[in-house]
Symmetry: C3
Subunit: 159 residues, 3 copies
């Protein structure tokens, strides 16, 4: 890629990530699925890894279809807010890239809500001329769980 | 626009939005007004629209002059923090664009403070060679109101 | 710089800032030091400056070596989250730039945690073909201190 093609690809990948968060938080599940490759996977660490290895890793969710099913079941009834801050993106080839995005999320269920911070470690692949997310690994810096009506907790038990 | 002109216009619109938030939170009202077209308008939804339509919409504020008056009266004495995260911006023509920005705001008055999340749905127009914000519609994902000394509330009554 | 060189420099400076926050929050101190010029300095205002001048300014920390020592001693044991939002960056010459970044930080020590918002006012310098951060001045809009198990405080004493 020449410099201009690279800058356009960077903007496309950033807007793809913005679409991921907007469609997730507004519960547009079909649109959310459209940002992934068919064979994508998602792994999110269950514990806080600041200062050490990951104490607990949730099972990987696989394929676009599997991810839409899993995530929509988990979050459709919840109020969610996902934020991504300025990323570091690097191209591996003309059709492959990787990126790290600082993140914050709030997930509010009927009786508890969680507030977390961390980094998404992504890979991207260009398929039929369009950049898509191929893998996502979410690592946590910090996680707090609050019971409605209670005082914010210090951290998750495994944090 | 060719690709480079498009990339420069994207950067200009993003820095325009950054100027909006910085001048708002540091109470530079004349500078804040300078980011808008003369005939701009602003609408902010009063309720949380996650999972449904908007239960309550505040009246639209119109014109640059009207907006500066309205917003400076509302917020000059408050401590405010407004954040915008990575946007989706699309060009309609060489002089018109639209954008969606994920947002978070904290507005702290003497006895209460609000903490909200949502999306700005903007339009932009190029006037005399400069991009300006022509309309802003703020939709909410989540809103919490805290009374000073009390426990954070679950949501606004109409949320 | 021509427009494409300028766009590439903007992306490089933004990714440099992203590297600063990621390496700080994951406690990679050598990598964190690598984003600065050898003669850099850092000043962070101790008080909230919304609506007036700064009531208290911490001493400036100087040189890359001095900053790594000071900041790693201060934060290595803490859980930290630093976020930067969309910046305003301006070039002074082909090798000098300045930028303003809206920011949020959480610093969680054993018995207290702080949650702050403000702006980084940076300068950058190109050294041996690479952009580096030469100075950082952090100004605060808002700061809250919470004692673990207690109710979030209104503001720092000098806020």
């Amino acid at each position: 890629m020449d410099p201009v093609e690279k800058l356009l690809a960077l903007e496309e990948i950033k807007q793809l990530r913005a679409k991921y968060w907007r469609s997730l938080d507004t519960k547009q599940w079909e649109e959310w699925g459209s940002v992934f490759t068919e064979d994508c996977w998602l792994k999110f660490d269950g514990g806080v890894s600041t200062g050490g290895g990951d104490p607990q890793t949730h099972p990987t969710v696989e394929t676009r279809k599997g991810m839409v099913e899993f995530v929509s079941n988990l979050l459709h009834q919840a109020v969610t807010v996902h934020q991504g801050h300025f990323p570091e993106i690097e191209f591996i080839s003309d059709t492959e890239a990787k990126g790290v995005w600082p993140m914050e999320d709030i997930v509010e269920h009927a009786t508890t809500w969680t507030h977390g911070h961390g980094h998404y470690h992504d890979t991207y692949r260009k398929v039929d001329g369009k950049w898509l997310i191929s893998t996502v690994h979410l690592k946590r810096l910090r996680m707090r769980v609050t019971t409605v009506g209670g005082i914010p907790g210090r951290a998750m038990p495994n944090g």
